[in-house]
């Protein structure tokens, strides 16, 4: 595949120069099969001013240390956390830095079968020649084992439990037996092989991981962005990126942006910036969802309302799609938030007044 012309470049392509630079300046010991030393991997992800390496993952440096160390051991690494917390980005960066290859990836879904984790067959060759290595189609995991690289499994909990279980022996033995090629044949993992999984443990419709599988992974929870100013910048940037394709030249006013991020942060963290406590919603109030709401509100304002700019009322209208998605309880929590926090703020701020009115109407019909 020609990665340079695709919609999204792989991490190793995007940061080719940085990786080369790090490789050149890497005096430290490398674990077998690793392209970079653990310290260089750390620099790649967290940045290094001296070498001119950019920081790519924010917020939790010790987490990155733990991830790197986990991958040096026999355990796999399981990244968990809310959607929109850059788990996939982190796993991509890790595999790009360690193996120079972030493409050995299995996208977990209910449709995944064991073959996708082990191997399948090229049936034309199989019928013509019988079972042979040539007829075998290695899964990304098996390919990673053969090449001593990091394989990634996205959304592991979306796979059926019996498929997940295929990983148990694979993780402990680090081999895949291939009885079709003759008894006793197997593919042994070259050094450097490991697995990074990402999983969502809270969504509906995911499968619980067995404890046997859990034991074979070190779990790391990726937390949402903790710095409000940084989050606001990130939301503004992503919303305007998305709006670029509509060519309407609208920007989200600062007060609306602040309100949007504030509502999401309040409901996510369970606390407002001035210390008032809020009931946390079960629904995901991630940065990514804030971007979705901001985006929808802007489209609404521009195309349905014909308004000159997006207002807090639009935000209130579209919050419903996020907060009320599947939890009745969250509606109550949101109502409590509106009744107390938003009501109090509406007395002092025009933006909050608009938001309060619109949200109240939305709730009470």
């Amino acid at each position: 595949m020609d990665v340079t012309s695709s919609q999204k470049l792989t991490a190793e392509a995007r940061f080719k120069d940085e990786l080369a630079l790090l490789k050149k300046n890497d005096p430290d010991l490398k674990p077998a099969g690793w392209l970079l030393s653990p310290r260089a991997v750390r620099k790649f992800i967290l940045g290094d001013a001296a070498l001119g390496i950019s920081q790519k993952f924010y917020g939790d440096n010790p987490l990155v240390d733990r991830c790197i160390v986990a991958l040096m051991g026999h355990q796999g690494l399981m990244l968990v956390g809310e959607p929109g917390t850059a788990k996939t980005l982190l796993s991509e960066l890790l595999s790009a830095a360690i193996s120079g290859d972030s493409l050995l990836v299995v996208q977990g879904s209910a449709g995944i079968i064991e073959d996708h984790l082990r191997y399948g067959w090229n049936y034309a060759v199989l019928l013509a020649e019988g079972p042979s290595e040539r007829a075998m189609v290695a899964s990304p995991v098996m390919a990673a084992m053969q090449q001593g690289k990091i394989a990634r499994i996205e959304e592991l909990t979306r796979c059926a439990p019996e498929v997940q279980d295929a990983l148990i022996s694979l993780m402990s033995e680090k081999t895949i037996s291939t009885p079709e090629l003759g008894s006793g044949t197997e593919v042994r993992a070259a050094r450097g092989f490991n697995l990074i999984g990402t999983a969502n443990l809270r969504d509906l419709g995911v499968n619980e991981m067995s404890s046997a599988l859990k034991r074979r992974f070190n779990f790391e929870t990726v937390q949402p962005i903790s710095d409000p100013v940084f989050e606001q910048e990130l939301v503004a940037q992503q919303v305007s990126e998305r709006m670029a394709e509509y060519d309407i030249g609208q920007q989200m006013p600062d007060d609306v942006l602040a309100l949007l991020v504030s509502v999401f942060r309040d409901l996510r963290t369970g606390q407002t910036h001035d210390g008032a406590v809020v009931a946390q919603t079960k629904s995901v109030m991630s940065t990514a969802e804030a971007v979705n709401v901001g985006h929808a509100a802007m489209l609404d304002a521009a195309f349905l309302d014909g308004a000159s700019a997006v207002t807090p009322a639009h935000i209130a209208r579209h919050l419903g799609g996020v907060v009320f998605k599947d939890e009745d309880d969250d509606v109550r929590k949101f109502r409590a938030y509106i009744d107390t926090i938003a009501r109090a703020r509406s007395r002092k701020s025009k933006a909050w007044k608009l938001f309060f009115k619109s949200a109240k109407t939305g709730l009470d019909g």
Binding site: R66, V69, G73, R215, V277, R335
Partner: protein, 792 residues
């Protein structure tokens, strides 16, 4: 001065062999510093050891270094103010405190030991901790350096730079580096902060103390917080010794615990989790040098695992191995010679947490608690009474308790009318709260269980005894005055609740609050009110939240023993309770049957409260709106009845609504007939008089009852009775009258009155009874007759 010059000044001034002055810049509770100080004393053999501690504490030094005294201990300073509360502050020592090691080692070689800081009163009132190291964690210098080294905060940075050098033979280089580091800290601290914090004044004082050491008493070793060293090395002009005034504060040596030490670290007073650093210190002492880091980490993990196994949280061997491997790899990745505290904690997270971590997880908490430890110090005999004992004695006398001997005496207190008696009662309650065994209440109002709260007198038995003193010494850990100690004891009970898994038990918290009020604890109760508030905030139980609101309201309007002091307010907590009640209202629609009586009672409680004067601060409309939602959400009949009556009372609903709803219930299709009465029960629970204040309601009920078949009526009867028990006897009479009127009869027609029995009929009845009994006896059933308590 440019930075390099600052660093050079410290480097050049730290050790001055020519003038015989040696500085040891230290961080409190740092084993690495303690090690360097130990080596230093042994090598330079100073004739004088000066320690940065309030000089009015000097009289405690002999007790502190006594062989029977085992750290952790603390010097407690106590200062009476003319106006305002008595101030208390602590100077803690543990075995690995550089100051303690300097004193012990100095004593060993016969050096003169002195404390050289300003008297404790200068710092009291500013902080509870007499040692202050906020800059080690908060300054720009630290943040920048932490960022550069990849450490997350000042604590990790300190460990990374210095604790990793524990056991070094080269104490000179180590202390020079600490000095330079502290020069950096100081350079990034604005001058105004130094002035305001009083640091400059203290440094001036210490410099004069150092300069006053005579030539014959040198070499002199000065053990001071590293932050002051850059200033002290420059202030070396020989000046007149500082004038020492008689101390204003009293000071005592008390037993201290790692728990308290760690809590004090909340005030930025040294390294946290003392048991961990003690382990490092002990290992260095055993190894007489750099500890075997791998063995230290292995030992810690193993001990933790075995303790956890005892507590029922087993750790599998592979997980232990993975934890050690991760810790080791992390320390290498971070460029350390050995595994340090943060590596261990990170490794624990990697190895033991399976699943998503939210905020503070159980394993990390257990481990941090383990690293904190539970050690409690010992103090040698003859160190004088801790201030709490004196305070208790003084108060007992002031409140006219006879404590001249151990005799048990009775005392009756008129708590509602005599303020002095109320104060004496508070003291007795406080002594009971501290579990001293001084006083026991024999009778009187029980405010905790709300029994006989109207009584005017409280009767106590009391006696002073050595046991009381012993218990007070134990309680001294909580504070130095009775109210302070009570506040501390309540806090400890609060912590025990948390450890018990009852962190959010509102009732238990309210009891703690009440006990605090009865003991006259005062302002510190604000923290407890905050805890109640927190528990309410996450309460999932409508009744509990309502109960809390009611309990807080009771406290708020109380005068006398349970009254709130001016400094404490429960308004905020009540507001939170109200918000929570409103939030939980939506649960009413789905309340399980068995909880209905409690929910109805809570609804009544809330409505009664919201209609009272105390509720003016609340936005009742929000509550009404919530009830409207409940009514619309197809709730159980009981709840519907209650909610509609509340709506009627608040004028939001018309009487017709209620009548229509009741008709709907009576004519509805239910699985069981008793459900039909639920609505009535809910209604009556809120207001009994509703039955006759809306005539059509009674009509509707009448129509329903008269339309019932006899059997159904009998089936319903117990449920009807249950519903109608809400009526008081007077209300029953009133209802009877209305019903009588309605059917053109008299009340006596219903109440039955007296049935007249003629003498003849009575005799006939008696004769029949006798005949019946005989017949039973004849049939061989005499026992059965006897069993019924009658004789033939």
């Amino acid at each position: 001065m440019v930075d390099e010059e600052r660093f050079d000044a410290v480097r050049d001034g730290l050790f001055q062999p020519e003038s015989g002055v040696f500085f040891a810049p230290v961080r409190h509770h740092s084993p690495a510093c303690a090690w360097a100080v130990q080596q230093m004393v042994r090598e330079i053999r100073p004739k004088t050891v000066l320690v940065e501690a309030p000089h009015d504490f000097a009289h405690i030094i002999p007790h502190l270094i006594h062989p029977d005294t085992k750290p952790p201990v603390a010097i407690a300073g106590l200062l009476d103010q003319k106006d305002g509360p008595r101030l208390a502050a602590y100077y803690p020592f543990c075995a690995h405190s550089p100051e303690y090691v300097a004193l012990k080692e100095g004593a060993e070689i016969g050096a003169q030991l002195r404390f050289i800081d300003q008297p404790s009163e200068a710092k009291m009132g500013k902080a509870r901790a007499l040692v202050d190291e906020a800059v080690f964690d908060g300054s720009d210098f630290v943040s920048a350096l932490a960022k550069k080294t990849g450490c997350r905060d000042g604590f990790e940075l300190w460990d990374h730079l210095f604790e990793t050098r524990l056991g070094t033979a080269n104490w000179q280089d180590f202390l020079l580096d600490v000095g330079v580091y502290c020069a950096g800290l100081r350079a990034s601290t604005p001058g105004s902060v130094l002035q305001e914090s009083g640091d400059l004044a203290r440094e001036g004082f210490m410099a004069r103390q150092i300069a006053s050491v005579e030539k014959g008493q040198k070499p002199v070793l000065v053990v001071v917080g590293g932050f002051h060293v850059p200033a002290l090395v420059g202030l070396q002009q020989p000046v007149k010794a500082a004038e020492i005034k008689p101390p204003k504060a009293q000071s005592y040596l008390i037993r201290y615990g790692y728990k308290e030490l760690d809590a004090l670290n909340g005030y930025a007073a040294g390294l946290p989790q003392p048991a961990y650093y003690e382990t490092l210190w002990n290992n260095a002492q055993t190894a007489r040098g750099t500890p075997d880091w791998q063995a230290v980490a292995g030992g810690i993990v193993q001990e933790f695992a075995s303790q956890m196994r005892k507590e029922g949280h087993g750790i599998a061997l592979p997980a232990m191995v993975e934890m050690l491997r991760s810790a080791d790899a992390l320390s290498k990745l971070r460029g350390r010679p050995g595994v340090m505290r943060h590596d261990l904690i990170d490794a624990l997270k990697s190895a033991l947490l399976k699943g998503e971590a939210s905020g503070r997880d159980a394993w990390t908490e257990r481990f941090v608690l383990f690293l904190r430890g539970h050690s409690l110090g010992e103090i040698c005999e003859g160190t004088g009474q801790p201030p709490l004992v004196a305070d208790a004695m003084q108060r007992a006398k002031a409140f006219r308790f006879d404590v001249s001997d151990g005799q048990r005496r009775a005392r009756s207190l008129d708590i509602r009318r005599k303020p002095r008696h109320l104060a004496a009662s508070q003291f007795s309650h406080a002594m009971a709260l501290l579990d001293t065994g001084f006083a026991a209440r024999q009778s009187g109002p029980d405010f905790i269980n709300a029994v006989q709260t109207g009584l005017l007198f409280e009767n106590w038995h009391y006696a002073w005894s050595p046991q009381v003193e012993g218990m007070l010494i134990q309680a001294a850990i909580h504070g130095d005055t009775i109210p302070d100690a009570c506040a501390g004891a309540l806090l400890a009970e609060r912590v025990a609740l948390v450890e018990d898994g009852r962190a959010n038990d509102i009732e238990a918290l309210v009891v703690l609050l009440k006990r605090g009020l009865l003991a006259g604890v005062g302002a510190p109760l604000t923290a407890l009110v905050g805890e109640v508030e927190k528990a309410i905030r996450i309460s999932a139980d409508f009744e509990r939240a309502a109960m809390a609101m009611q309990a807080l309201h009771t406290i708020e309007v109380s005068r006398g023993p349970l009254g709130l002091p001016d400094t404490v307010s429960v308004q905020g907590a009540m507001r939170v309770a109200f918000e929570r009640v409103v939030f939980l209202c939506d649960d009413l629609a789905n309340a399980p049957d068995e909880t209905l009586p409690a929910k109805l009672a809570a609804l009544r409680l809330i409505t009664e409260f919201l209609r009272s004067d105390g509720a003016s601060a609340f936005d009742v409309q929000v509550f009404d709106e919530a009830l409207d939602r409940v009514a619309a959400a197809n709730p159980p009949a009981e709840i519907l009845g209650a909610v509609l009556v509340i709506g009627l009372q608040s004028g939001k609903r018309a009487p017709d609504d209620l009548v229509r709803a009741m008709r709907g219930q009576f004519n509805g299709a239910f699985l069981s007939n008793e459900s039909k009465v639920g609505f009535l029960r809910g209604m009556l629970e809120i207001s009994a008089s509703i039955l006759w204040s809306i005539p059509s309601l009674l009509e509707e009920l009448d129509r329903f009852l008269s339309g019932l078949e006899d059997l159904t009526f009998l089936e319903l009867l117990p449920h009807l009775r249950l519903a109608l028990t809400r009526l008081s006897p007077r209300q029953s009479d009133q209802l009877a009258e209305i019903l009588a009127d309605r059917f053109d009869g008299a009340v006596s027609d219903f109440t039955g009155g007296q049935v007249e029995v003629s003498a003849q009929a009575a005799a006939a009845g008696a004769a029949a009874e006798i005949r019946l009994q005989r017949a039973l006896v004849d049939d061989g059933l005499a026992e059965w007759v006897a069993g019924r308590g009658a004789t033939p």
